[in-house]
Amino acid sequence: MTGGDGRSDPKRELWLAWYATVAFYSLYAVVFFVVTRTQPPGKPWYGPVEVAAWFSGHHRGLLVGFALIFVLGGLSATSIALITYSIRRMSVSRAFAYSYLILYAIAAVPGFLFICVAMTVGAMRPGRDPAVLRWLYDLGFLSFSGTMGVFLVGSLIWMTAILLDQNRVFPKWFGYMNLCNALTEVVVAPSWIFHGGALAWNGTIAWWINVVVFGLYTGVFITLLRRMILREDFGRGPLPDLAPTMSGPGEAAAEVAAA
C-alpha cells in the first residue's frame, strides 16, 4: 500500500471522517430536537385521540426531518469507523475492534431506521385510525430509546479495550465513562413497563438524566477522537502525547511529513 507522496496529509481521511462525525451528530440533534420535536419524546400515557393530535401537530416536522435522516443517516458510519480505528490502534486484540464495528453497524436499525419509518408512516396519512397511530407511536419511541443491547454491549467492549490498552490511545477515565454510558442502557429498561413517571420513556430519570449522560459522553468522545488524530504517529506502540506547542492539524501534518 503506497503512502502519499508527502504532498497530501496522511491524516486526511481521518480528518474527513472526524468532520463527517461532527456533521452527523449535529444533524441528528437538530432533526430530533428541533425539526421533528420527537425529543423530548411524546407522552407515553396518551390515548389514541391525543396521539392523533400529536401526529397532526408534528406533521410537517416529522416528514421533513426524517426525510433528511433517510438521506443522510449513513453518515453515522464515520464515527463508528473512527472508533473502530481507535480500538485497532490499541494493544488489544482486533476482536474488540471488529465487535464494535458490527455492533454499531447494526445499531443503525433501531438507532434511527425504525423511528424514521414508524413516524413517517404515522404522519403520511392524517386520516388513519387513531388506535393504529398509537401503535406506530409506541413502535417509534420504544424502538428508539428502548433498544438497549447494542449500546450496552458496545460500550462495554470499548470500555474493556480502553482499560486493557497499553498504547494510551484514550485516558482511562474515559474507559470508565463508557461504563456510565452502558449503565444508562440499564436505567432505560423500565421504560418498557411504565406509562408515566420518572422511569417512563419520557421520564426524568429514564430520559432527561440519561440524555445528559449520553450527551456528555458523545461530546467527550468526539473531542478525544480529535486528540487521537492529532497524536497519531501510525506506529504500533504507545501514542505520543500532544506537545504543548502543537496547535492544530496543520502543524501535526507537518510533523508527520517531516518525520
Binding site: 482499560l163 497499553q166 494510551r168 484514550f170 485516558p171 482511562k172 477515565w173 474515559f174 474507559g175 470508565y176 465513562m177 461504563l179 456510565c180 449503565l183 440499564v186 436505567v187 423500565p190 413497563i193 411504565f194 413517571g197 420518572a198 422511569l199 426524568t204 430519570i205 438524566i209 449522560v213 504507545p238 502525547d241 500532544l242 504543548p244
Partner: protein
C-alpha cells in the same frame, strides 16, 4: 489498569507505582466516582421530589420495609469496606497472604449483602409489593436494583484486584487502591440509599 491517568502527562509510570500525587489509586477512578455520585444524587433528587408530592403514599410504602434488615445490609457492607481497606494496607506492606484473605472477606460480605437483598426482595414481592405496585416501590426497586448492578460490577472489580494481588511480577499498589476505591463507592451509595429509603420517615 497499569498506566497513570490521562491528560497531558509526559511519561507514564509503570510498575509498582504507589499512585501519583496525593490521590490513592488511579485518578481516573475518582473521575468515575464523582460522575456516578452526581448521577446518583440526581436520582435521589428525583426521588425526594416525587416523595414530597405524595408524602402519605410514600410513608405508607416505607412502612413495609423492615428497618433491621436495612441496618444489617449496612453493617455487612461497612464490614466489607473495612475488609478492603485492610487489604490495601496489607498489600502496601507487602503482606500478600493477609491481603488476599482480606479481599476474600470483602467478597464474602458482598455475597452476604446480595443474599440479604434477594431475600428482602422476595419477601416484598411475596407480600404483593412489586416494581409496578406503587410509586414508592417503583423507586425502591429501581434504586436498590441499580445499586445491586453496581455491586455485581464490584465483584468483577474484586476479581481484578485479586488477580493484580496474585501477580508477583508486576505488582501494582495503584491497581489495588483503584479497585478498593470502587468498592468504597458501592458502600457509600448504599449508605445514602439506606438513609433515604429506610430511615427518613
Amino acid at each position: 489498569m497499569t498506566s497513570a491517568g490521562g491528560g497531558t502527562a509526559v511519561a507514564a509510570a509503570t510498575g509498582p507505582a504507589t499512585g501519583s500525587g496525593h490521590v490513592p489509586g488511579q485518578p481516573d477512578m475518582w473521575f468515575f466516582v464523582v460522575f456516578e455520585s452526581l448521577i446518583f444524587t440526581s436520582y435521589f433528587c428525583v426521588y425526594l421530589f416525587h416523595r414530597a408530592r405524595h408524602e402519605g403514599a410514600f410513608l405508607q410504602g416505607q412502612s413495609h420495609l423492615v428497618l433491621w434488615l436495612g441496618v444489617l445490609d449496612t453493617v455487612v457492607l461497612l464490614t466489607s469496606s473495612w475488609a478492603v481497606a485492610r487489604c490495601v494496607q496489607h498489600a502496601r506492606a507487602g503482606r500478600h497472604r493477609p491481603a488476599l484473605r482480606a479481599a476474600v472477606l470483602t467478597a464474602a460480605c458482598g455475597l452476604a449483602f446480595l443474599a440479604l437483598k434477594l431475600v428482602e426482595w422476595a419477601r416484598l414481592i411475596h407480600m404483593g409489593r412489586t416494581f409496578t405496585s406503587s410509586e414508592f416501590f417503583q423507586f425502591y426497586f429501581f434504586l436498590t436494583g441499580i445499586h445491586l448492578v453496581h455491586l455485581l460490577i464490584g465483584f468483577v472489580v474484586l476479581g481484578v484486584l485479586v488477580r493484580r494481588l496474585s501477580d508477583r511480577e508486576r505488582p501494582s499498589q495503584q491497581a489495588v487502591e483503584t479497585c478498593a476505591t470502587y468498592w468504597h463507592t458501592v458502600d457509600f451509595f448504599w449508605v445514602l440509599i439506606f438513609a433515604l429509603l429506610y430511615v427518613v420517615r
